[in-house]
């Protein structure tokens, strides 16, 4: 009775000649699994926390002011920790109109410039994260008292990972993109 994973007709532009295409170096693929595992854990925390808030209204003993804060910061952690993973796996949401215009070498140049811009933006955000960690050394979250500087470590790590991935993509610009399928995420 399990639903078939419905095959989405693959983009003919994507290189289907070499099926076992490896999008990233092995080190980064291991790193990606770690990022995805953290994001999944954050998702579980969101689910449990929000459900906890419901249950605690009927079981006052479970009332704990930290749950909604925990859920909120988990969504933030999930968002930032996935930045590098999605850049590395071609999984970010992009507008691909240029593909209809730029072909061959031109597309390679576009992809290289795009990856370079992505790397610069990620690097700027790493710097911002670093500044924020230093700017609020004593600030803590309202309910749980988590030092806010620890929370800024998520964007720091995520955008650093994104910058590394983007630099790799500059050098991989001449390779065909692998169409990313969220359902097959590893």
């Amino acid at each position: 009775m399990t639903a078939d994973p419905v095959p989405v007709a693959s983009d003919p532009a994507a290189g289907s000649l070499e099926p076992a295409r490896r999008p990233e170096p092995a080190v980064l693929r291991v790193w990606a699994s770690a990022e995805l595992a953290i994001a999944c854990a954050a998702l579980v925390v969101i689910f449990v926390s929000v459900l906890w808030q419901v249950v605690s209204r009927f079981v006052p003993a479970l009332n704990w002011p930290g749950v909604s804060e925990l859920a909120g910061y988990s969504l933030i952690a999930l968002t930032f920790i996935m930045v590098g993973y999605l850049i590395g796996n071609n999984g970010h949401i992009t507008i691909q109109i240029i593909d209809y215009v730029a072909k061959g070498r031109a597309l390679v140049v576009v992809k290289a410039v795009s990856a370079a811009c992505t790397a610069v933006i990620c690097a700027l955000l790493v710097w911002e994260a670093f500044e924020l960690i230093q700017a609020y050394p004593s600030r803590r979250t309202a309910a749980l008292g988590i030092p806010i500087s620890i929370l800024y470590a998520f964007p720091l790590v995520g955008f650093a990972s994104g910058a590394v991935r983007a630099v790799v993509r500059v050098f991989y610009a001449n390779r065909d993109d692998v169409t990313f399928d969220a359902a097959e995420a590893r």
Binding site: R57, N63, P65, S68, E69, Y136, S138, T141, A142, A143
Partner: protein, 320 residues
């Protein structure tokens, strides 16, 4: 209280051209906007000191705690802040929000005028922001589906309190059965009965339309609601002395006018409620204040420790 050793600080006599961004959570329909921020803009700009005040009411610049961090960073120049949002940076200020710590607004202002200077200096050292004065926001009271005259009445109702440690401590101190619901969902939650009440000043309850659902207002007046007018030290460093003087004087002057406005608006809303059939207002003298105060004091004297306890006791000692 602000640092002036910054060597880019202007010398007296020249007034740099500055645009001051002022944030607040209050919508434009509320006294703290039309009898507060807006007056401040008129008064300060009217003195031709090269100051322009740029008003951002209605949480346009973000939620309270995030805006206060913006004041610390200098991205927002002035903000109107309740104590609890700033307690993430300076926990002690949360004590001023303790239920029945202050008997009424007169008690609060008396304390600010005699003890505020030292307290705000300590605050400044910890946050790099300067509290110039406090503007009245209204006494926090309960609106619920049933009257609340004594602590026991609270136990049978699920009451929504803001989800910060001090507010939840207030709930405990008053004997309330607190539930946490995000402000964005509160109206719907009250409508569907997820919670049977909430606490806010009368004007805020009316502005957010919670009184459409909750037909019983109980004037427990359990907490003095105030908005501290807090200025970024980064902004003060850029201002000339005449500019600072004009700003500070205007903020102090507005305090009394703003309070009259809040009182008038509160009475206007209350009179509307009193005259409406099917709605109940439990008046101040119908509430067993002594029971509430005794319960709150008993709770907080064991809840607070160290410097917080000392502060709490010193406030209660001036309660008269």
């Amino acid at each position: 209280a602000c640092t002036t050793q910054n060597n880019t600080a202007p010398s007296a006599g020249e007034n740099p051209q500055l645009t001051i961004k002022i944030g607040s959570s209050q919508p434009e329909s509320q006294p703290n906007f039309y009898c507060g921020m807006k007056l401040l803009k008129e008064r300060v700009e009217g003195q031709n000191l090269n100051l322009t005040l740029d008003l951002f009411p209605n949480s346009q610049l973000g939620p309270d705690a995030e805006r206060f961090a913006g004041v610390q960073a200098g991205d927002i120049d002035i903000d109107l802040q309740g104590g609890s949002a700033m307690s993430t940076a300076f926990p002690k200020i949360g004590v001023l929000d303790a239920a029945y710590a202050f008997n009424d607004i007169d008690h609060f202002f008396k304390w600010v005028d005699s003890n505020g200077k030292d307290f705000f200096t300590e605050f400044n050292g910890a946050t790099d922001t300067t509290i110039v004065d406090a503007w009245y926001f209204g006494m926090r009271t309960f609106t619920a589906t049933a009257p609340i005259r004594k602590p026991e009445d609270l136990a049978s109702l699920k009451i929504r309190f803001p989800n910060t440690p001090q507010f939840l401590a207030n709930a405990k101190a008053l004997g309330a059965n607190a539930v946490s619901i995000a402000l964005e969902e509160l109206y719907l939650a009250l409508q569907q009965g997820v919670a049977q009440g909430q606490e806010n000043p009368v004007v805020a309850t009316h502005a957010q339309k919670f009184d459409e659902i909750l037909k019983v207002a109980s004037l427990t007046n359990h907490q003095v609601g105030t908005h501290y007018v807090v200025v970024s030290d980064k902004t003060l460093d850029k201002m000339s002395q005449p500019q600072k003087d004009a700003l500070f004087t205007a903020i102090h002057d507005i305090r009394a006018e703003n309070r009259t406005c809040v009182d008038d608006e509160t009475e206007k809303v209350l009179d509307g409620w009193r005259g409406e059939s099917g709605r109940t207002v439990v008046e101040i003298d119908q509430v067993d204040r002594a029971a509430f105060i005794a319960k709150a004091e008993a709770h907080f004297t064991s809840y607070y420790k160290g410097a917080d306890l000392e502060l709490y006791k010193s406030i209660r000692a001036t309660a008269g």
